[in-house]
């Protein structure tokens, strides 16, 4: 190794120390979350750092049987699945005319969608609650889906529009000459080409909806309709909490997202660059 390369390596050492320190700071809470799943509540209180004295799945079993966890999982799957499908479908439909036609009124429509991104909807939670009550959408999984789709759509539209704008004009013109209508052009010509955008929108919508705690807290009162993050709250008792079960249920609820992350980490990070990960 030449002395110059060596000096370059040494110059990078402080940077690596900073990054490793942050990686440790990220890992510590995650480590505690994982080991706590296997500990008894007494162990969690007495020894937060150490490994569990015995690796048992007792917490997972009791978390699963104590409450109707399978039912909450199905609720979450249903709500998340529906929100993802409708967000992808509607966003692709809206992005197509906005990005491929020369519309005179495109900019007010884009401004409307931009407002959908910038407006902090949580500030209007009381009004949204009353509105849902008057629409008969409280205690309804469908009501949750509507709200999630409305909140996720604006970003999804911008992502689709960014991808669609980059495509050459000849694509749909050739299809139109062959007699294809606009719907056929969108679904059979354009959408298959912007598959990366479909993946980004689907992944980020799924993560946001799956993890959300805020809207079920406002809209869902019926135990049977709870989604997974909200259901975790039912483990936290007023007087006594089985923390082992709490952490086990958190781990169960995080498993699908983390699995997806490990498999798709690169696409997810690229999605952030495309603006996909915003709340």
């Amino acid at each position: 190794m030449t002395s110059l390369a060596l000096r370059h390596r040494i110059g990078q050492v402080p940077g690596w120390i900073v990054l490793l320190a942050w990686a440790a700071a990220v890992a510590l809470p995650l480590y505690i979350l994982i080991v706590s799943c296997f500990k008894t509540t007494a162990e969690i209180y007495n020894d937060k750092f150490g490994l569990p004295s015995a690796w048992t799945f007792q917490n997972f079993i009791s978390a699963w049987t104590h409450v109707d966890f399978g039912r909450y999982l199905l609720n979450s799957l249903g709500v998340t699945g529906a929100a993802v499908v409708f967000t992808v479908l509607f966003a692709a439909m809206a992005a197509y005319p906005l990005s491929r036609y020369e519309l005179k009124w495109a900019s007010p429509v884009l401004a409307f969608f931009l407002a959908g991104i910038m407006l902090p909807i949580r500030l209007a939670s009381v009004e949204l609650f009353t509105l849902m009550k008057e629409l008969g959408l409280l205690d309804s999984r469908l009501g949750l889906v509507f709200v999630y789709v409305a909140i996720r759509l604006p970003f999804a539209i911008f992502i689709f529009a960014n991808f669609m704008r980059a495509l050459p004009r000849e694509l749909e013109e050739a299809a139109r000459i062959d007699g294809a209508g606009e719907w056929r052009v969108l679904f059979l010509v354009i959408l298959p080409i912007v598959r990366p955008a479909v993946a980004i929108v689907a992944i980020f919508t799924a993560i946001a909806v799956w993890n959300d705690f805020f809207f079920p807290l406002i809209f869902i009162f019926d135990q049977d309709l709870r989604t997974v993050p909200f259901a975790t709250m039912s483990f936290i008792g007023q007087y006594r909490t089985e923390w082992g079960e709490v952490f086990a249920s958190l781990a169960l609820s995080m498993a699908p997202v983390l699995l997806m992350y490990v498999l798709l980490a690169r696409q997810i990070r690229e999605g952030v660059g495309a603006g996909g990960g915003l709340k």
């Binding site: 990686a23 510590l28 937060k48 910038m118 209007a124 939670s125 509507f146 409305a150 923390w243 992350y261």
Partner: protein, 297 residues
């Protein structure tokens, strides 16, 4: 190109997006604007609201307990947002530059670890941090003890509770903004740096005169998004502190729910929301105006 058939399909394509956003995002916010000037109990339909002019605003800024509680909440939200941005932006630029320069060996793994926090649901973050922060036997105080720093009260003291929530927020969000910073850094061509180096620029000078100006668009975007996220903070307060101790972490979104739902004073809650909304609009416009002014120079 703008035949009738085409136009009809355009409307059919836009309607499924415009409709839900109008009903579930825009309408609630417009109702908030309207209700801020009404007396309205949130246990009754909207039709029961009666116009009271600026009474709600007079009350939330008044000298009474409603006023002092709200002003405290507004200060808390402002502090939380300002501290969050002041920590998240520099840290994400620092980590972004370090990872960007360390490419490629180990960089992918590091990015994967740093970004992982974004995947963890807020409820898990909140519950784990409530254990980490435990003042007597909490892991965080154990770690600090190893490097010779005494026990911190964290969430149990009014003076440190809000900062503890900021740290939790920074922990969760830095990875996300680091990825955004890296995306901005990769767009700066290497040739710009090389030209500056030929002119004799080194180290900090390169950072100040090349990196920062060319990263400005990314930074402004990050600041605005971090701000919009921060003013809406709710989960850690609802899950860990319930606004305490003695109102130290009572932020506006949490306070609005207390006033608007539990006390059913929908008009007052709406006036609070409108106040924060106005403050947000002013802050975001100020950021954009500052950037534009800089450009003109």
């Amino acid at each position: 190109m703008t035949g009738f058939g085409l136009r009809r399909s355009t409307i059919a394509m836009l309607a499924p997006s415009v409709g839900p956003i109008a009903v579930f995002v825009l309408l609630p916010l417009l109702l908030t604007l309207w209700l801020a000037f009404q007396r309205w109990s949130s246990q009754t339909p909207f039709s029961t609201a009666t116009f009271v002019g600026l009474d709600n605003f007079r009350e939330i800024f008044g000298a009474g307990s409603v006023g002092s509680d709200f002003k405290r909440a507004l200060t808390n939200t402002a502090l939380y947002s300002a501290l969050s941005i002041a920590l998240i932006l520099p840290l994400s630029v620092l980590f972004g530059m370090l990872i960007h320069q360390a490419r490629p060996r180990g960089a992918t793994l590091l990015r994967t670890i740093l970004f992982a926090t974004y995947m963890v649901p807020m409820i898990a973050v909140a519950l784990v941090f409530s254990k980490l922060y435990s003042p007597t036997e909490g892991p965080l105080n154990q770690v600090l003890g190893l490097v010779g720093i005494g026990r911190q009260p964290w969430l149990s003291s009014p003076s440190s509770a809000l900062v503890s929530l900021v740290i939790l927020n920074v922990w969760q969000q830095v990875g996300y903004f680091t990825v955004l910073a890296i995306a901005g850094l990769t767009q700066i061509p290497d040739s710009v740096y090389e030209a500056a180096k030929i002119d004799g620029a080194r180290g900090p000078r390169l950072f100040v005169s090349i990196t920062l100006p060319l990263l400005k668009r990314t930074l402004v975007f990050c600041a605005v998004i971090a701000l919009i996220n921060a003013v809406q903070v709710f989960e850690p307060v609802a899950l860990i502190t319930q606004g305490g101790p003695v109102g130290a972490t009572n932020v506006v979104t949490y306070h609005i729910r207390r006033v608007g739902i539990e006390r059913a004073q929908g008009g007052l809650g709406s006036a609070m929301a409108v106040t924060l909304l106005l403050a947000l609009v002013v802050a975001v416009s100020a950021v954009f105006a500052a950037v534009r002014k800089e450009k003109q120079r």
